[in-house]
Amino acid sequence: MRIDVKKTYKLFIGGQFPRSESGRSYELFDSKGNFLANPALASRKDLRDAVVAARNISDKWSSATAFNRSQILYRVAEVMEGRKDQFIAEIIAQEGVTKAQALKQVNEAIDLWVWYAGWCDKIASVYGGTNPVSGSFYNFTTPENLGVVASFISDQSSLTSIVHAVAPILAGGNTLVAVAHEDYPLSAITLSEVIATSDVPGGVVNILTGKAKEIAPWVGSHMDIDGVDGSGLDSTTYDALRKDGADNLKRINRFDEVKSPQRILAYMEHKTVWHPIGI
């Protein structure tokens, strides 16, 4: 019998797959208690490195044309489609569900990418507009990216939850640091491998695995993070993060798992421009 080549699950920062700077990892078991992997246990320094990577690429990603971002998000769906078996196996390992249920989840995740891919070049025309001001001025409002967002992924599912969080943030032109749910690092890291091979520039998406509760205070007080999705945090941790986040007035939200343009807009800012009309 052939001895399997097992996969090492590492972090995803700046387009690279480093181990945690802290050298830490944690043991992950499947639903029956069998050992699965030693995913990296991300530290404060890993978070800070990820934010630097996300900030550095922010201008490039937000100034890419919406059509270009749209194609890149669609490309993620294409590449996922080709790696279905791996996603299914990992969902079964982490969640203990049937193969049919796992397949359903993978299909849903892929379709979410397709849905948000299509939004990239529509969001500004649906939610921006011209404003008929009283006076001889041309005045228009357009949504634009917020900047760097940190997302705590919820435990509703191992794969679709992270896609629900990541895809709309990218569609809005933001870069992000996602903190995978502690129980579901495998799907998150495999997704990062898909992202790494889908023309998403390095640093646009960064994925940390580990303990959300440990990382949350460093996210709350980080002055170069503009928004936070706290869906995966318990109420006490979330409230503490909201207090810390007031230091630079981070935009902090939690979401039900629905696909909606409001999830894109939650991390966009409306900019209004005036110019006189004359000859």
Binding site: N131, F137, N139, K243, D247, L249, H270, K271, T272, W274
Partner: protein
């Protein structure tokens, strides 16, 4: 050349200021439960105008109960079209009583009658008129098929545009079906109390609008009241952050309009005379008591000398003095405390090595005054380049390339406004894209309109006011 003007004071006969004011709760003026009175003065001559009530926690509680009752029993049951009709009525009454409001606002605030008459009051009426039309069209506001009001909204407004900020707050709140408890600023309560009379004349159902006067303690009682579902605050970033922390652990929604340090960028090809007018309007409008003021002038190095000469000439034409004089351009600083703050920051400009300039102008002996001022030789690290002065003080900074201009403009925790002056269309749009600010004025400055969303990036706040986007602050949409 010096132009002499004969005094042209607006008559104060049109206003009827009472000696004492109660609180406006549940449609009636009622005395406070235990609250003392404090004076509100005319900052142009330090004369006491009236005594108003320091609202207590018990008063706030009474007002929130009245608003809750009104929300449940009347306002939430009215069809949008009927809510709209009340707002149209209010807009019309504000237009009918515009001069009275303009004079009273000028007296209580210190701003020139020319501005209250031509800007504050007409815009306040326009805000009610605009939002009246939304009340029966909310399903078209882009927030889902059936957006819902929050319920009772607590609103706290600043002293720089007292009635206009009231209108920015109350008009959208009512149009979207909420009821309101509003606290006007401590130093400028009178037009809010006169607005209460407008609500009575409009026969607005009791308790839909409640006005509780007072200071920060009253505001804090309002913010922390458990019966409030949403808070809207306009004021300093410091207080905004306090409020942001205080709502943690509650379900209260929050929007914030906070400070700014707006960059007004002048490129070498700018139309110079219009630009000078825009700079003046950007920083000396309303004594610089404007959160979106163009308080940092970023000028391309090769035109700096020419621009500064023209600016000096124009600034020497600014008429400082009696706010009620129709020829006055720059009125009184709103309070002693604000004057002290402006003086202290200007002083820091001197000690940090910037060079101060003001035209010769005679300031009245009584009242609170600060001449129009600019500093040259300002570097990015100076306090006057970083902190909001909220007064008629401009910091002049130079740049060489467009990229440097953008980098300097964005180098601030604030992100409310910015200005762009150039004749080149593509440069306007490029700059507008790069600037991290919620409102960009290109070849103009300090323009406001009810149809135009207003609000900031970064530490300048959360959410927008005005336009379709502003409605989101007062509605819970479907996801």
């Amino acid at each position: 050349m010096k132009f002499e003007y004969a005094p042209a004071p607006e008559s104060t006969a049109i206003v009827d200021i009472q000696s004492d004011y109660n609180l406006f709760i549940d449609g009636k003026f009622v005395p406070s439960k235990g609250g003392k009175r404090f004076a509100t003065m005319n900052p142009a001559n330090e004369q006491v105008l009236a005594k108003v009530t320091q609202g207590t926690a018990a008063d706030v509680d009474r007002a929130v109960k009245a608003a809750t009752n009104a929300y449940k029993k009347t306002w939430s049951k009215l069809p949008g079209a009927d809510r709209g009709k009340y707002l149209f009525r209010i807009a019309r009454i504000l237009q009918e009583r515009a001069r009275e409001f303009a004079v009273l606002e000028s007296m209580d605030n210190g701003k020139p009658i020319r501005e209250t008459r031509d800007t504050d009051i007409p815009l306040a009426a326009a805000h009610f008129f605009y939002h009246a039309g939304w009340a029966d069209k909310l399903e078209h506001a882009g927030l889902g098929a059936n957006p819902k009001a929050h319920g009772v909204v607590g609103q706290i407004i600043p002293w720089n545009f007292p009635l206009l900020m009231l209108a920015w707050k109350i008009a959208p709140a009512l149009a979207t079906g909420n009821t309101v408890v509003l606290k006007p600023a401590e130093t400028t309560p009178l037009t809010a109390l006169l607005f209460a009379e407008v609500c009575q004349q409009a026969e607005l159902p009791n308790g839909v609008v409640n006005i509780v006067t007072g200071d920060g303690a009253t505001g804090s009682a309002l913010v922390n009241h458990p019966g409030i579902q949403k808070i809207a605050f306009t004021g300093s970033t410091e207080v905004g952050k306090l409020i942001a922390r205080s709502v943690v652990g509650t379900k209260k929604a929050l929007t914030l309009e906070l400070g700014g340090k707006g960059a007004n960028i002048v490129f070498e090809d700018a139309p110079i005379d219009e630009t000078v007018e825009g700079i003046i309007n950007g920083i000396y409008f309303n004594q610089g008591h404007v959160c979106c003021a163009g308080s940092r002038l970023l000028v391309q190095e090769n035109i700096k000398d020419e621009l500064i000469e023209k600016l000096k000439r124009r600034m020497s034409m600014i008429r400082v003095g009696d706010p009620l004089d129709k020829n006055t351009d720059l009125g009184a600083i709103n309070s002693k405390a604000q004057l002290t703050k402006i003086q202290e920051l200007a002083q820091s400009g001197d000690t940090e090595g910037a060079e101060r300039w003001s035209p010769e102008c005679q300031l009245p002996e009584k009242g609170f005054w600060f001449p129009p001022t600019f500093f040259t030789g300002v570097s990015q690290s100076h306090r006057i380049a970083r902190e909001e002065i909220f007064g008629p003080v401009l910091s002049v900074i130079t740049f060489r390339t467009p990229s440097e201009a953008i980098e300097k403009a964005n180098n601030t925790p604030y992100g409310l406004s910015a200005g762009i002056w150039t004749d080149k269309g593509s440069r306007i749009l490029w700059s507008a894209q790069q600037l991290k600010a919620g409102v960009i004025w290109a070849n103009t400055f300090n323009k406001f309109d009810p149809a135009s969303p207003f609000g900031g990036y970064k530490e300048s706040g959360w959410g927008r006011e005005g336009g379709r986007h502003g409605l989101a602050a007062y509605l819970k949409g479907d996801m």
